[in-house]
Amino acid sequence: MRVLVAGLNHKSADVEVREKLAFAGEKLEQGLSALLALPQVKEAMIISTCNRVEIYMGVDEPADATRQVKHFISSFHSIPEVLLDKALYFHTDSTAVRHIFRVASSLDSMVVGEPQILGQVKDSFLLALNKKTTGVLMNKLMKKAISVAKRVRTETRVAENAVSISFAAVELARKIFNDLGGKSVLLLGAGEMAELAARHLMNNGVNEIVVANRTFERGCELAQDFKGRAVPFSGFKDEMVHSDIVICSTGAPNYVVFKQDLHHIMKERKQRPVFLIDISVPRNVDPKINGLENVYLYDVDDLQGVVDSNRNERNKEAQKAEDIIGVEVEVFERWVASLQSIPTVVALRQKARCISEAELERLFNRTNLDEKQQGAVRQMASAIVNKLIHSPTAALKEDVEDRDQLIAMIRKLYDLNGD
């Protein structure tokens, strides 16, 4: 049996295609049973997330199976096969194994290193286990994929750094304040980026958001969204005394917050730290402010710099992860290969036993041997059989490169293909 994966992801297909091909809710179980009904498919498992739809299978003949699966996908989702050509990819054997290892380790994700995918792989596997749609091959493959993903996570730092501006802002806020619970955020201006950053901060524990916008009404709307409050723009300096994090995006053509202002504000705050995020271009906060004690100012370029260096770091770590995966794929391939020879070994043993049984039967019918003598003959026969098939079975179990050839040869020599 061989591993085959058919699928599409955020790189191969747009979201419109992905959502059409998703196996959501009940469709997942229906899909699994429909797949197993295909003559070529022996084991199957489906991973369906918003960024990927992938079918993992154990099949006998990948080429045939590929055709059948493609047909299945097209008819199951009622999409013409022609449309699938661009979106679908198929991998077999070691390429397929490498693929699932990379997926589970989050190397194939839109944001490399994001942690959700491993959970999604686990859930998909559990469902398939419950529905008993997987067997020896898939079970081993998925268990291995999960353990490889864990290894990648502990041995590399691929999942460690924030790779978006909002996340970088949250990470920095955490390194300044530790716990964001009880901290208050002031939004100066109501730009989209500011809103996004504020939302991230809220998701991470910030519980008070104040909006100071030039157009008061727009400020009120946004404040309602956040269950915060709006203040008139002119009063933002008084508000800053109580704000731990200030996100600035007013769209003003020049500085709005000056060093002198902040100097006074810090005195009133008794030097409690302030984190200023200036995402406006041109900048709204005088960069000299970063020189004040307990004031930390990051503008868009600074945050982008953090993101870039994190991304570089991740890519470096991703290379380490690929190396780990390369080794693990080899190990798995060896196991699959050894699996391949098992039916031949079994068939060979069975054939030998059949012959010896039949010959013994004939001999005992023709002669008058007592039980003791029969036992002795039986022992001799089985010794001869075992010794004769020992070397071919040992050769089959050995780790050799041209195992396929060897299997074919042994099957031919011993005429194992007949039945």
Partner: protein, 271 residues
């Protein structure tokens, strides 16, 4: 027995220091555990050593520079364990254990001879005074170590280069908080040490203070940390300033300790 237990604890502290430095180089789950385990074993042996010495002398053993320095290290490790347990902050050991090991090593190099204590000084105050004084000094030493961590982390955040230890060092808030707690703990301990010291001096020599160098230095240290606390509470001197001041305060202590130990003068028993 004494020399063996001391030697064993020195070796384990050395291992703890190596592990703590290794921890700086690359993050790992096992290295910090190995570091803590070696430190705890070393600490255990040193505790046995201190009790053994104390019983054989009949009074607390911290009466010569060697014993005093090693007890200083013992106090630092004690506080380190408490902090590591209470705050679980990353890399604390890397900044503390080298300092504590260094003290142990200095102690190891000093002469071990203990002169018989003059009957005048034999009193319960000896134990109370020294234990409080060293616990306070250990708290100040830790405050300096944590203050140094604060300065390093603040440098990362301010300079916007978030590489190196940035992701593994604790947040500025936590470092500032620990620094503050240590100074607030150390200050009253130090005050008690000064008071018990004066009472002891009064009992022994008939006056609370004799203006010898050691006592003057103690008052200077007390004043510095008093200022650190006052400035923080009244004027919001937190963060970088508090960190820098606590480092300065600790350097004063070390300076006094080393300077006066070299001079070997005054009525202070071991100085």
């Amino acid at each position: 027995m004494g020399a063996i237990t001391f030697g064993i604890s020195l070796v384990f502290y050395f291992c703890a220091m190596l592990f703590s430095l290794l921890d700086l180089l690359r993050s790992s789950k096992t290295v910090p555990k190995l570091m803590l385990t070696s430190a705890i074993i070393g600490f255990g042996f040193q505790t046995v050593y201190i009790f053994y010495k104390g019983f054989s002398l009949g009074h607390v053993p911290f009466v010569n520079p060697r014993e005093a320095t090693s007890f200083f290290a013992w106090c630092i490790f004690l506080l380190f364990f408490i902090l590591a347990y209470r705050y679980k902050v990353g890399l604390l050991g890397s900044f503390i254990t080298p300092m504590a090991f260094l003290l142990m090593f200095i102690s190891f190099l000093l002469p071990s001879e203990i002169k018989p204590l003059s009957p005048m000084l034999r009193s319960e105050w000896l134990g109370v005074h020294t234990v409080f004084a060293f616990l306070a000094n250990a708290a100040f030493a830790m405050a300096a170590g944590v203050g140094f961590m604060y300065l390093v982390q603040e440098h990362y955040v301010k300079s916007k280069h978030l590489g190196g230890l940035f992701s593994r060092l604790p947040s500025l808030h936590v470092l500032d908080e620990i620094n503050y707690r240590l100074v607030t703990a150390g200050f009253p301990l130090f005050t008690v040490a000064i008071i018990t010291g004066s009472i002891w001096a009064d009992n022994a020599w008939g006056s609370y203070i004799s203006w010898e160098p050691r006592q003057i230095w103690a008052l200077v240290t007390w004043l510095i940390f008093g200022i650190v606390l006052h400035a923080r509470l009244q004027r919001g001197w937190r963060g970088r300033r508090a960190a820098a001041l606590s480092i300065l305060g600790f350097l004063t202590i070390i300076g006094a300790f080393a300077g006066l130990a070299l001079l070997q003068k005054g009525q202070h028993v071991f100085l």
